[in-house]
Symmetry: C2
Subunit: 410 residues, 2 copies
C-alpha cells in the first residue's frame, strides 16, 4: 500500500475537526476564542464556522456585546441536530448509549450477556434489542438518529477485504448483513481499541499531546494509540493489540491460544487466576462472572481490614501492568498513558501507584520520567462513546465536511 | 506539548522530498516521469524541480528528443554539489562513510574500539580520527563537505533539553562541545534507531509502505519505525527501544540493569550467552570480541558439518527474535519489517525462516499473515548511511527547502 498523499483537502478537513473540538470542549465559545485556541487564521475560522453552521452542526445562540465594536456571536454545538448511538459489544454485556449531536449522553440501555454464549445470531439480536431499548428510553424514533456505531472486538482489514473475527465467535459477512438490517440506520463498525482512541481524541486529552496511548482494562486488554492527532490503525487495523504481546515467554496460556500474553495476567480472568495461584480456596477465586469478581475484589480491598490475598493479587497485577506498560513505552515513547475500561473504574485507584512505580523502573532510559500515567478523563463507557463519535464522524464525512478517517467502518 | 499544526509549508516541503526521492531512486528521470511516480501535479513538479536545480541539488544533464514536441530534459541528482559524511559510533568500532550529494558511497574509514574502553574523550578523538581518515581517503578537504552526521546511542530529548546518555559512558554537554570543535563542520547528531529509519525512508522501502519497522541487530538491538512516511520519534526521542522491552519477565539480566529484555537474548552478547547455556565449554562461548563471535557462528553454521550447539543456538535465537518481533507487530501492526545491522549481515539468512515462522504463530490474529519480513535493501552500514542523510536533510533545511524534520539534531 502506498503512503497516502496528504492534500490541502485533508488540511481543510483537519481545520474543521479542530474547530469542532474547540467548540465541543469550550461548551460556549466565539470565533475569536477559537482562533486563539486552535492557532488557525481568523479567515479560516470564519469560513469553517460558516460551513458547520450551514450543516446545522454548530449553532449561533446569542450576541454578546463586547467593550468595543460589534456584538459577538456565541457558538455552541447544535445538540438538536440529531442523535448518535454507540454500542459496546463486550463478552459480558451489550451496552448502547445515545448522545445528542453535542455529545451529551441522553439515554442508555444494557443487557448482560452470558459470556459463555458464543452464538453470533444471538449477538445480533442482542445489539438490536439494546438499540430499540435506548431509542425508547430516549423517546425518539429511528428518523431522529444520524448514525449508529458498533464496537466489535476483532474487526480486521486484510488484503482481501474487511471481516470481523471475534475471538471464539464465528462471524461471517452474512451476519453483518443481518446486523445492518436489524439496525436499520447508517451503521459504522470498528474495533474497540480504535474506538477508545477516538474518544480520547475528541473528548479526552488526545488533542493536547503529540503522542498518547489509552489502555482498556476489561475481559481483554488493549491499547488505543494516538500519534500527532491521528489514530494508529496499522496494516490490518490491529495496531494496539498490546494485550497479546508477551509478558512471559512460555507463560500462562492465554485464551487466544498462545502463551504468556499480557492479557493472561491483567485481563479480568488473568487477575482471577493470580488470586487462585495465591489462595486456591479463596471465596472469590471461583466466582463465575468476571464483573462480579472484579467488583468484589474492589470491595475486599476497600474494606477496613483488607483481605491479604486480595492485596497480594492487586500488588502482583500492578507489577504485571507496570511491566507491560513499560514495553509499550519502550516502543511508542508516548507523552501520556491513560487507563479506561471497567476494571479501571473498579480497581484503577488500587493499581495506579504501584503500576507507575514499576513502569518507571522498567521503561528504558528516561522514557518514563516525564510520562503521565492517569485514569482517563473520558468518563462513562468510552467504547460506546468512541464508537458513537465514529458514527458522527461518518455523518460529517458523508456531508463532505471531513475526509474519510474511517476507512474500515463497514 | 501540543500537536504540531500541519501547514501548507509542510506540504511543499514533502513535495520536495517526494521529488528528491523520485530522482534518487530513478537515477535518471524526467519531469513527466516524476509526475507519474509521485502523483504530484505537473505544475508542482515543475516548480519543485526548478527550486532543486537552483540550489544545485538536482541537475539537468541532457536533452532527449521525444517522438513529438520539444526535447525533454533528463534530471539527475547533482553528485558534485558536495559531500556528506555519516559516522556510526558503535561499541565495537567507529565507522565513517562519505557520500556524494547523490548518496553514492565514495569513501569509508573505520577503526575498531575496545568495547571495554568507555572514556568519552577517547570516543571524541576516535570520531575525529575516522573523519580525518575518510576525508583523506576521499581526497577532499573540509570545504567540500556539506555536513557530518554522527549516530550516538542514547541521544534523548527531555523537557529540560537535549542530552546524550550513552549506556555505560558518561557524556556531558562539554564533550559535545568538544566533538563539535573536533569535527569543525556542520554537525547533526541523532539516535541510531531514528537514523536507520531515515535510511529506509530515503533509500529503502519506507516510502512505499504506510507502516514499516526496521530492526537493527548488533551489540544492542532496536527498531526504527516509519509511519506514513514519517519517523516515529516519541516524546523523548526513544521510540523504538524494543530491545529493552520484555521478552521474559524476571529473565536474564540485561546490561541496561533490568531483567528479561529482548536485547539480553538477541543482542550479540545474548546470543553468546545462549551458546554458553547450551554448551558451557564450547570454543566460541568465550570469544572476547562480539564481532569475532558472530562471524565465527556464521562460519560454523555454514560449514559442511554444522556444529550442533551452534545450530541449537541459532534455533533458539530465531525463536526469541520471532517472539519479540510478534510483540512489535502486535503494537504497531506494520506492513513490512526489515532486518539490518552486522548480526543480520552475518546470521540473517540463518535466522530468517525460523523467526518468520515463530512470528506468524505468535502475532495476534491475522496481523502477521500478510506481513513481509525481509533483510533490508539498504546495504552497507545503514547507520552511517542514515545519519549522512540526516546531515543532507539538515543542509536542505538550512537552504529553506525542507521544514525541519530533524528537531533534535544538535
Amino acid at each position: 500500500m502506498a503512503v497516502p498523499r496528504r492534500t490541502s483537502r485533508d488540511i481543510r478537513s483537519e481545520s474543521r475537526l479542530d474547530v469542532l473540538h474547540a467548540v465541543l470542549s469550550a461548551g460556549e465559545t466565539t470565533r475569536n476564542e477559537i482562533t486563539r485556541s486552535t492557532g488557525l487564521s481568523p479567515a479560516t475560522v470564519a469560513t469553517v464556522v460558516g460551513e458547520l453552521i450551514s450543516e446545522g452542526i454548530v449553532a449561533e445562540t446569542k450576541l454578546t456585546a463586547g467593550r468595543v465594536g460589534r456584538p459577538t456571536a456565541t457558538l455552541v454545538m447544535n445538540a438538536a441536530r440529531g442523535r448518535v448511538v454507540g454500542i459496546d459489544v463486550a463478552e459480558t454485556y451489550v451496552r448502547a448509549v445515545m448522545f445528542d449531536a453535542a455529545l451529551n449522553q441522553v439515554a442508555s440501555a444494557e443487557e448482560p450477556r452470558d459470556e459463555h454464549d458464543l452464538d453470533p445470531a444471538s449477538v445480533v439480536e442482542s445489539i438490536g434489542r439494546v438499540l430499540d431499548n435506548v431509542l425508547a428510553e430516549g423517546g425518539v424514533t429511528r428518523d431522529a438518529v444520524l448514525g449508529v456505531g458498533v464496537a466489535l472486538p476483532g474487526l480486521v482489514q486484510g488484503a482481501s477485504g474487511v471481516s470481523v473475527v471475534v475471538p471464539h465467535w464465528t462471524w461471517h459477512k452474512v451476519d453483518l448483513e443481518r446486523l445492518r438490517e436489524r439496525v436499520g440506520l447508517p451503521l459504522s463498525i470498528d474495533n474497540p481499541l480504535k474506538v477508545i482512541a477516538t474518544a480520547e481524541l475528541w473528548l479526552g486529552r488526545g488533542r493536547y499531546f503529540s503522542s498518547m496511548v489509552t489502555i482498556n482494562l476489561g475481559t481483554g486488554v488493549g491499547a488505543g494509540i494516538v500519534l500527532e492527532g491521528r489514530i494508529l490503525r496499522g496494516a490490518t487495523n490491529s495496531a494496539g493489540e498490546w494485550g497479546h504481546s508477551l509478558l512471559v515467554l512460555d507463560g500462562r496460556e492465554c485464551r487466544c491460544g498462545r502463551h504468556g500474553c499480557v492479557e493472561a495476567y491483567v485481563g479480568a480472568p488473568g487477575i482471577q487466576q493470580t488470586l487462585r495461584e495465591i489462595e486456591p480456596d479463596h471465596p472469590l477465586a471461583d466466582l463465575a462472572l468476571q464483573r462480579d469478581f472484579i467488583l468484589s475484589m474492589a470491595e475486599a480491598a476497600d474494606g477496613p481490614e483488607p483481605d491479604p490475598a486480595v492485596q497480594e493479587t492487586i500488588a502482583r497485577t500492578a507489577r504485571y501492568l507496570g511491566s507491560a506498560l513499560a514495553d509499550l513505552v519502550a516502543v511508542i515513547n508516548p507523552e501520556l498513558v491513560t487507563l479506561t475500561g471497567w476494571t479501571t473504574w473498579a480497581l484503577g485507584e488500587h493499581l495506579l501507584a504501584a503500576a507507575r512505580e514499576r513502569l518507571v523502573e522498567q521503561a528504558p532510559g528516561r522514557s518514563a520520567h516525564d510520562l503521565r500515567l492517569e485514569v482517563s478523563t473520558v468518563r462513562g463507557n468510552s467504547v460506546a462513546t468512541g464508537v458513537a463519535i465514529i458514527a458522527l464522524e461518518r455523518f460529517l464525512s458523508d456531508a463532505g465536511l471531513l475526509t474519510s478517517r474511517v476507512p474500515i467502518a463497514l
